[in-house]
Symmetry: C2
Subunit: 207 residues, 2 copies
Amino acid sequence: VVADYSLYFVADAGFAAGRDLLPLIEAAVRGGVTAVQVRAKDLPVRQFLDLGRRAADSLKRHNIPLIINDRLDIALACGAAGVHLGQDDMPVSQARKIVGRRLVLGVSANNADEALEAERLGADYIGLGPIYATSSKTTDLPLVGEEGIRRLKGRVRIPLVAIGGITAANARAVKEAGADGIAVISAILGAPDPEAAARRLRTSFPA
Amino acid sequence: VVADYSLYFVADAGFAAGRDLLPLIEAAVRGGVTAVQVRAKDLPVRQFLDLGRRAADSLKRHNIPLIINDRLDIALACGAAGVHLGQDDMPVSQARKIVGRRLVLGVSANNADEALEAERLGADYIGLGPIYATSSKTTDLPLVGEEGIRRLKGRVRIPLVAIGGITAANARAVKEAGADGIAVISAILGAPDPEAAARRLRTSFPA
């Protein structure tokens, strides 16, 4: 079964700023997200593990994959479905050697070269971005834009998940450019009603 | 083969403050260290991996085990012999489930309860400390002292490696209290001649 990355919620502990992420993840699931990543760069390992385990338990009941950011060991320990690797994290070829087919491996890419390289080295999907300017992640990377999606589309066979500044207002343009999915942080975590926000994104970017 | 933890060098990237750790590790090996841990809490993953791989290659030639601090995934990726887990890191029982017998697992303990629990859950050795006051790690933990080593000795079967404020001047007292090994950061990394410093420790705490 190929996972559905069409509405991919990145639950970022840093952005949540102390709020427990689990109720926010569950609200997003009610709103229609199809995949969830837990990102917790600055959380102590035991808290990251605890959050990961609770999220894995909850998401399994909905048959929604949980992806852990960066740490393969935490993904394995909490029974997650996969790991998402940034360009500064472990190379996907090495991650694949460690986990074999036990975990889905996603890789961040900012351009066609990085995306093609990630696919060649064994990635299961690409997180392509930043598409638009975004406040939830500080970066010096050039914007990919809709044109960048369009140029890459058809050159990789694995799913292309667009990330960075995506909202219900621009999601349709991202889909028309060729993205297989959209990933969001602030469009859900920064919304007054995360469930309603997920539902609006779902409408703008149907599976 | 049981590893020799009698002179255990913790090569801490934070303490090294930008110096490449590999030549320092190699100097410590010439001076007689029997085990090396690489600790790099704040290093980007790719730098941590690169350092780990270079250290693993070098140490294999000397048949000295490389232990990686905290991250099982990095230990697996760089071919290390083991992982050292603090009380805030992944519980050793879970780490064991992930790596089986592929890696040695060490656990930090501050008292008998933590040490006995770690042994029960599958640790291969205990890092017991802080024995004395130390400048290289800020901590609120109570000092274990020589008396703490003496009280624990005979109650655990796995090796007890004493850490915290150990120098060539007090190493003999630590051995007499019953430690199977000593672990040091600043006594080697803070010395003007790390090789000579390791050699002095080796003399004060023979294997």
